[in-house]
């Protein structure tokens, strides 16, 4: 496979929380490039900085130093370079979180279509796209149900549908398959893989799930805030 565009380019990124005695160095000088079409696993022990790195790439967390480029645009270089980070997230980034974070007052389908609504899709098209994704993820039958009534796995799949709805090119996933049985975990990985190829997207997924390691193009290991060779 010929490598596509560089979608994520992280250079010398560091992030510490707190100061003085309470200072925690979550990331220390990370360099990472991810190309379109790549599906990457981020591995490492608890507290090694995986979530922190995802949040930095997702423009949710400002690093303390370094440079971040997304899809060819510099977004951080010592400071944020863009004021419309939310628009950037809406258009380019899809998040799948450890906690699913569905909006409790919307149905499963609305939780997916709200993203498209925000992106300016016509309501009808948005609904159709939401249904299509939910059907694919085998939760179409729960489309009209509110999150409180969904099982953990169902909610997780709705959250995945939401992350993919606006066809983002950068998909960040924090243990996307943790709440899923192995069959469904494979299904989700297949979907992400398909997406990466078809939409020329990249996937960065934190995972502990050894059963799906073979689905990734690359495994990246984090230890104490540094990338290490496996």
């Amino acid at each position: 496979m010929t490598p596509g565009d560089i979608l994520v380019n992280v250079q010398g990124v560091a992030k510490h929380y707190g100061e003085g005695e309470t200072r925690v160095d979550a990331l220390r000088s990370i360099d990472l490039r991810v190309h379109a079409g790549e599906v990457i696993a981020l591995l490492g022990p608890s507290g090694s900085g995986k979530t922190t790195l995802l949040n930095v790439i997702g423009c949710i967390l400002a690093p303390t130093a370094g440079r971040v480029e997304l899809d060819g645009d510099a977004v951080f270089d010592g400071k944020w370079l863009r004021s419309d980070l939310r628009r950037l997230r809406l258009d380019k980034i899809g998040f799948i979180f450890q906690a699913h974070n569905l909006l409790p007052f919307l149905t499963a389908e609305e939780n997916v279509s709200v993203v498209l609504d925000l992106a300016g899709w016509p309501a009808e098209k948005g609904r159709a796209r939401a249904r299509e994704l939910l059907d694919y993820l085998e939760v179409g039958h729960r489309a009209k149900v509110k999150p409180a009534l969904l099982s953990g796995g169902e909610a997780q799949r709705v959250a995945i549908a939401r992350a993919l709805a606006n066809r983002p090119r950068i998909i960040l996933a924090d243990e996307p398959t943790a709440a899923l049985d192995s069959g469904r975990a494979q299904l989700v990985m297949d979907l992400l893989r398909k997406l990466a190829t078809e939409q020329e997207a990249c996937i960065i997924a934190v995972t502990h799930d050894e059963k799906i390691f073979d689905r990734f193009d690359r495994l990246i290991h984090l230890r104490d805030g540094r990338l290490v060779d496996a």
Partner: protein, 377 residues
């Protein structure tokens, strides 16, 4: 997709309950406004009832409502003869207590000359007074009905007509009797005073006195000129209708009006704080969801709209419930509750502004929240 409405429908029961609570508060505010208006309207009712242009009263007094006034009954002839005066009538006022159906009624007795100014403008039921003795017109609030009889002083009066909204500024319902009956009622009720007068050497043949003489003017007549002319007469003073109304508001109901006005102010402030608190709490409870919205890329516009729309829906529903409730119960108040569409409109304006300001607090908190908050947990 309207997030505000979806969220409200998600927690509908609680939202309705909150609206209902706010509605009750609005009911109290509207009741207070109504009581305030009612007080003013009631106070002016007695002045407005005779539809006069000029009030001739005792010199040096601001009668007959703000101060006692007594002038000879025959002043009426002199006033009637003045150029520009179309008609004039003598009028008396007194408050008495009378027993009826086992209860004591406080009545405001207005004596007037049938066929001359001073009587009620409209008879709601029955007929007006004729020339015969011992008939009266009663305000509905007295509880008297047509054909009832009631003892006033030494005589038994029968109710021949009913009127509405006639009362003094204290809220005592009015009854109208003929001037002749009113004058004999005056002496009958005050024999002790009469005896004192006799003891002082007064021969007891005092000319009949009335509280005021009211006049209606011919079209185009100059009110200022006429009152000025009357004032030149030694024992008399004159007030225009407008002066009389101002006087009544300023002297008789001013304190009560200020009292209620102040209370209304406090009530509005309390409502404002309550609304602000409700909206702020509503927003704080949603902070994590708002963080999620930010995370998936919702612009500030969407988040502000969510909060402001909910605040507006809350305010308007509360006001609506308040209006419905007050219209339902307002006739059960012991005193008149008068609500003008204008009041509702002003209150709507105030509530909308309060909601907007209150949502400002929530909006500030919402805009400050870090999208990363959504990731916790």
């Amino acid at each position: 997709m309207n997030l505000a409405i979806k969220d409200i429908r998600h927690g509908l029961f609680r939202f309705v309950l909150t609206c209902f609570g706010l509605g009750l508060l609005m009911t109290v505010v509207l009741a207070m406004i109504g009581i305030y208006n009612g007080l003013v309207a009631d106070a002016l009712a007695v002045v407005k009832a005779p539809a006069a242009d000029i009030w001739v009263v005792e010199a040096g007094t601001q009668g007959p409502f703000a101060e006692a006034s007594a002038i000879p009954a025959d002043t009426r002839d002199a006033v009637a003869r003045m150029p520009g005066v179309a008609e004039a009538g003598a009028i008396t006022y007194q408050t008495i207590e009378a027993a009826h159906a086992g209860k004591t009624l406080r009545l405001y007795v207005i004596g007037f000359e049938p066929g001359r100014p001073g009587g009620p403008q409209r008879i709601a039921e029955g007929r007006s007074l004729g020339t015969s003795h011992f008939e009266l017109l009663a305000d509905r609030k007295t509880g008297l009905v047509l054909g009832d009889t009631i003892r006033l002083g030494r005589d038994r009066f029968s109710v021949v007509g009913l009127v509405e909204d006639a009362m003094n500024s204290g809220g005592d319902p009015a009854v109208y009797v003929t001037l002749a009956d009113a004058l004999s009622l005056q002496t009958a009720l005050d024999p002790a005073a009469a005896r004192v007068q006799v003891a002082r050497g007064d021969q007891g043949i005092r000319p009949a006195t009335v509280a005021a003489v009211i006049a209606r003017l011919e079209p185009g007549a100059d009110v200022a000129l006429l009152t000025a002319t009357v004032r030149q007469w030694k024992h008399l003073a004159a007030l225009s209708q407008a002066e009389q109304e101002d006087l009544l508001l300023a002297s008789v109901v001013d304190r009560a009006r200020r009292q209620i006005g102040l209370f209304l102010g406090i009530l509005l402030s309390v409502s404002a704080v309550v609304i602000a608190l409700i909206i702020y709490t509503m927003t704080m409870e949603k902070l994590k969801q708002i963080a999620t919205l930010k995370l998936i890329g919702a612009p500030d516009r969407t988040i502000v709209a969510l909060i402001v729309q909910q605040a507006m829906i809350l305010g308007i529903s509360g006001l609506g419930i308040g209006l419905a409730l007050i219209l339902l119960v307002k006739d059960n108040f012991p005193r008149r509750v008068v609500l003008e569409p204008f009041n509702a409109l002003v209150l709507t304006g105030i509530i909308l502004v309060v909601c907007l300001v209150a949502s400002g607090l929530g909006v500030r908190a919402a805009l400050k929240v870090d999208p990363a908050t959504a990731l916790g947990g």
